[in-house]
């Protein structure tokens, strides 16, 4: 395919070429000393199209054929160093606004009805900001300014999980994500140190309620089980002691960390064989000293990037690298990406892409521009709702992404992007359900009224406010569930007899009535010099798939394309001249390719 007429997506590739052109042998200056570190020296990686594409499938979000041509002109060391090198600017950062406590104070004197309305507005604004930020992140992934950073941020996003649905404070959740993204390629130790003081995390795992004499073990347990050591490498007694050490670690109303001395248990604790008047920061240092810690982090990272768990000798080797490098990620990743084992048969082309991988990869490969909001919603429908992990362990990943339903839905999502699906026609005669939000509010407020009496504590107004926010959240989350479940829209936005299930309708509206896929497959394929059916198909397969198409798949699709062409009475070799008919055929063929099992791997 020609690079002409393409958008600035290719800027990343141009940056790569420029940086690599700086000189053979020497690492770019910005890389500092780590690139020369002896631990990164390994045997040679066979540098061919398949392996180069594999590297970008895993370290980024895929490549286009023309990017691949550029990449193959350079050594794997240079390409990996460029992926790892800090970018001068990753664009203008998102500015997160913080709702102000005074807004809540203003409400105090108001009648109940108005307060309710006011709270609902604040809550809606908060959710909007969260969505805006999530869209902003998806845009960054698609823009490819710093794809490795976004790839690894996605790892931390599922490792140090926090659900915006539980925290309900977009400012804090955004701050956390900006912290993870800024340090994604830095040091794991710094991430762990930061996360025990992270307001969103302290809310998510209830540490605001962890007080001297009244421990709440939620953060303590997950800190060891999921964030540092893994199950089996600590005792129940350690959980209790770590919970004591974390007492008083809280977040204040300005969205900042606050050490609440009065609620901190200053006594002596015993944690993993160490003894002292530990606080949360001390505990983190104890955790970082454990052999299990580096093994846990290395194992999770390798599994994320390779798709399979490393066998134990290899795991120990990589854990050793992490420990010896003070938990710095760059030397670790450099070694991994230049390790011939990373390119072994068991690994290449055998990983099921996550929904985000699939969607970002598809968007780049097609060079289309659906709104980020669409990609976000679609990823959620396919099982990867950013900022709302299914639980504190994050997303399970791998083959669990694919169910009978999600596999069909991936194809639908691609069809909406390509404009080959007519939802209205597909769902004629499917009745809607009606009355949802009102019903939920009625039911919840009944339940809450009966619960309120026993729960009204000294907090008075605040408690009341929290409860109302709670209720909104619960309705929101049920409505979100509905969206996942494909049920109807709330009455306010219900367009009468629309029969399309809600999940798909939400996607359609996120794509927007103004959205048309701005692509011209006919022109692109033609520009590569392809003419006959086999060449046309190969061009589409190489640009749309992250793996090489198996022979039987190619044969099946070739039969299909030949039949389609013959069906409109056009001879082989002349299809690309029949522009309008050809474009429809190619788009439907692209939809078909992206719906196949082959398109889910990479």
């Amino acid at each position: 395919m020609s690079t002409e007429g393409r958008s600035e997506r290719l800027r990343w590739a141009r940056v790569l070429v420029a940086a690599v052109a700086m000189g053979a042998g020497a690492a770019p200056a910005a890389l500092g000393g780590w690139a020369d570190d002896p631990v990164t020296q390994t045997g040679a990686v066979a540098w061919n199209a398949s392996n180069a594409e594999h590297l970008f499938n895993r370290a980024a979000f895929g490549v286009t054929p023309e990017e691949l041509d550029d990449i193959l002109e350079h050594t794997p060391e240079h390409v990996v160093d460029e992926l790892l090198s800090p970018r001068e600017s990753a664009g203008e950062p998102f500015f997160a606004e913080r709702g102000d406590a005074s807004q809540y104070r203003q409400m105090r004197g108001l009648p109940e009805e108005e307060r309710r309305r006011f709270r609902a507005q604040l809550r809606a604004a908060d959710r909007r900001q969260m969505d805006d930020y999530a869209s902003f992140w998806v845009d960054q992934m698609v823009d490819y300014e710093d794809p490795l950073r976004d790839r690894i941020t996605l790892f931390w996003h599922g490792f140090f999980t926090t659900s915006s649905r539980d925290v309900r404070r977009s400012f804090e959740v955004i701050q956390q994500h900006q912290f993870l993204r800024a340090n994604a390629l830095g040091s794991y130790a710094d991430l762990l140190r930061g996360i025990v003081r992270d307001p969103a995390m302290l809310y998510y795992l209830d540490n605001n309620a962890n007080r001297k004499g009244k421990p709440n073990e939620n953060l303590a347990r997950e800190l060891m089980e999921l964030f540092s050591l893994g199950e089996g490498n600590y005792s129940e007694a350690d959980v209790k002691e770590v919970a004591r050490a974390l007492t008083g670690y809280s977040a204040n109303r300005d969205g900042e960390f606050e050490f609440n001395r009065r609620q901190h248990d200053g006594g002596i604790k015993r944690v993993l064989g160490e003894r002292g008047r530990f606080d949360g920061d001390d505990v983190v240092e104890v955790l970082l000293e454990q052999e299990a810690c580096a093994e846990w982090v290395a194992g999770r990272l390798i599994e994320f990037l390779e798709g399979v768990q490393p066998e134990s000798a290899r795991l120990r080797e990589y854990a050793g690298i992490l420990r010896n490098e003070d938990y710095q990620l760059r030397p670790f990743l450099r070694r991994l990406f230049l390790d011939p084992e990373f390119y072994r048969e068991e690994v290449v082309g055998t990983r099921v892409q996550s929904p985000v991988d699939y969607l970002v990869g598809m968007t780049r490969r097609l060079d289309v521009h659906p709104p980020a909001r669409y990609l976000l919603l679609a990823a959620g429908n396919l099982g990867e709702r950013l900022f709302q992990p299914p639980n504190v362990k994050g997303w399970e990943g791998g083959e669990s992404w694919i169910t009978t339903s999600s596999l069909l839905q991936r194809g639908n999502v691609a069809g909406l992007v390509l404009g080959t699906i007519d939802l209205q026609a597909a769902f004629e005669g499917n009745p809607g359900l009606g009355e949802r939000r009102r019903e939920l509010r009625r039911r919840l407020s009944d339940a809450r009224r009966s619960g309120a009496e026993s729960d009204a504590g000294p907090q008075g107004d605040d408690m009341d406010m929290d409860m109302d926010l709670d209720m909104d959240m619960e309705i929101d989350s049920e409505m979100d569930m509905d969206m996942e479940m494909g049920a109807e829209a709330p009455p306010t936005s219900d367009s009468g007899g629309d029969a399309v299930p809600r999940a798909l309708r939400a996607l359609r509206s996120a794509v927007g009535s103004g959205y048309r896929p701005r692509l011209n497959l006919t022109w692109r394929v033609k520009a590569t010099g392809a003419t006959d059916d086999g060449e046309i198909l190969d061009e589409l397969l190489s640009s749309l798939l992250a793996i090489e198409a198996p022979a039987e798949t190619r044969a099946l699709l070739l039969d299909h394309l030949k039949a389609e062409r013959a069906g409109i009475g056009i001879r082989e070799g002349e299809l690309l001249e029949a522009t309008a008919a050809c474009e429809a055929i190619l788009r439907r063929l692209a939809h078909l390719i992206l719906s196949l099992p082959e398109a889910q791997l990479g």
Partner: protein
């Protein structure tokens, strides 16, 4: 294997046609026993139980058993619970010691009518308080968790129902398939709502798409995905048709859980050959201000499960349906500092439906002789599984569980 595949494909084509006809006003689906006829009689299980169904309901997050079946008659209950205390006066008392949560009014009636069995003090040796590890133990029915290599339902499928089974042998209504259903040979059919369980391509694409699933042995990821695609295409038409055709006078609550159970009822009625259904209800991880959220969850369970049980009761579909409801663990006896409860150990399990001999089973754990602040289990959950496997499905439970467990005499004979 290949022969079977072809057979399924042909059958599916016929069904596809039948589904299309019913859309145009034809009366019904193919006769429900199509698969039962295809299934060879040799498969270990006796054919007598060939259309029995188990519905697994998972309360995710660790349901507080003490707020569900409340031991109000025990002083230690009131002494340990304040902000999460369920007031005695509101309980549906089962006897002088325990009562069901006030919001379980409908299930209490079903209990009184003999359709609900409560097995108390459920747990397992060496309990883990991690959600994930504990769920793995439950799902694998093995203390080794995932080291056991497959889910317990997957193992039942492989052992007893492996040949001639339709893709819908195991159906999960929801997004994420639980590990209990994991199986290389019989991955579960999963969907959230039937209406959107379909691929929207048309015409010749649809035909090519149907051929894009021809798989060899399921040794590679790609072949497994092709198997999933085949299952998806074959079941999608039937599932949607069954949901569309289902008629009932019972009004299910408009919650995802209620709607999911309604879909299950429709599929049971349609006899598509499903042996195990699975559905989750989340939100039980109540570390904080438990009372309000747990009260609401009890209502959700009560409304939906009541509708489901009443819908099936008195009908043939009800005679062949057993419901099993569980959670990965109970919660601490003592409250935490924030009006909630932390992860604990033993808790009750529930069996419901026409086949059930209602009442109390197992033994309520001591409220004072605790295991590290938790209720110590008195009955292994695998005893309940053994009951379902052997007394319900007619499969020797040792073949599945690897050990012998005492079964619970809670099914009518």
């Amino acid at each position: 294997m290949n022969e079977n595949t072809n057979e399924m494909t042909n059958l599916d084509r016929r069904r596809f046609v039948a589904g299309g006809l019913s859309l145009l006003g034809g009366a019904s689906l193919l006769p429900g026993h199509a698969f039962a006829r295809l299934r060879p009689a040799s498969s270990g299980a006796s054919d007598e139980g060939a259309d029995k169904t188990l519905v697994l309901i998972q309360l995710s997050g660790g349901n507080d058993g003490l707020s569900t079946v409340v031991p109000y008659g025990d002083d230690a209950y009131g002494a340990n619970r304040r902000r999460t205390l369920v007031p005695t006066a509101e309980l549906h008392k089962l006897d002088g010691y325990r009562g069901l949560h006030p919001n379980l009014a409908k299930l209490a009636r079903i209990h009184d009518e003999g359709g609900l069995a409560i097995v108390e003090g459920i747990g397992y040796p060496g309990p883990v308080r991690s959600h994930f590890k504990s769920l793995d133990v439950w799902h694998a029915a093995s203390l080794k968790g995932r080291a056991a290599r497959e889910g317990w339902v997957g193992k039942v499928c492989r052992t007893a129902w492996s040949e001639g089974a339709p893709p819908e042998l195991v159906v999960h209504v929801g997004g994420k398939v639980p590990y209990s259903l994991h199986s290389i040979e019989h991955p579960a059919v999963a969907f959230e709502i039937p209406e959107s369980y379909r691929w929207l391509g048309e015409g010749t694409e649809a035909e090519t798409f149907r051929r894009g699933r021809d798989a060899g042995e399921k040794t590679s990821v790609l072949d497994r995905l092709r198997g999933v695609l085949r299952d998806a295409q074959e079941s999608s038409t039937r599932v949607r048709a069954a949901a569309r055709a289902y008629r009932t006078d019972i009004e299910y609550p408009q919650t995802p859980f209620g709607r999911g159970l309604r879909v299950i009822a429709g599929l049971i009625e349609a006899r598509e050959g499903t042996r195990v259904f699975s559905i989750d209800l989340g939100g039980f991880d109540t570390h904080n201000n438990q009372k309000a959220s747990h009260d609401g969850l009890m209502t959700t369970v009560d409304d939906a499960l009541n509708a489901f049980l009443r819908d099936l009761r008195g009908r043939e579909a009800g005679d062949r349906t057993l419901v099993m409801m569980f959670s990965e663990f109970g919660r601490r006896v003592a409250e935490n500092g924030s009006g909630g409860t932390d992860h604990g150990k033993a808790a009750p399990m529930f069996l419901a439906g026409t086949p059930v001999q209602g009442g109390l089973y197992g033994k309520h754990p001591s409220m004072t002789d605790l295991d590290g602040g938790d209720l110590a289990y008195t009955t292994d959950f695998r005893s309940v599984y053994a009951t379902a496997i052997e007394d319900w499905f007619g499969i020797p439970h040792r073949e599945i569980l690897g050990e012998t467990f005492e079964r619970i005499p809670c099914l009518r004979t």
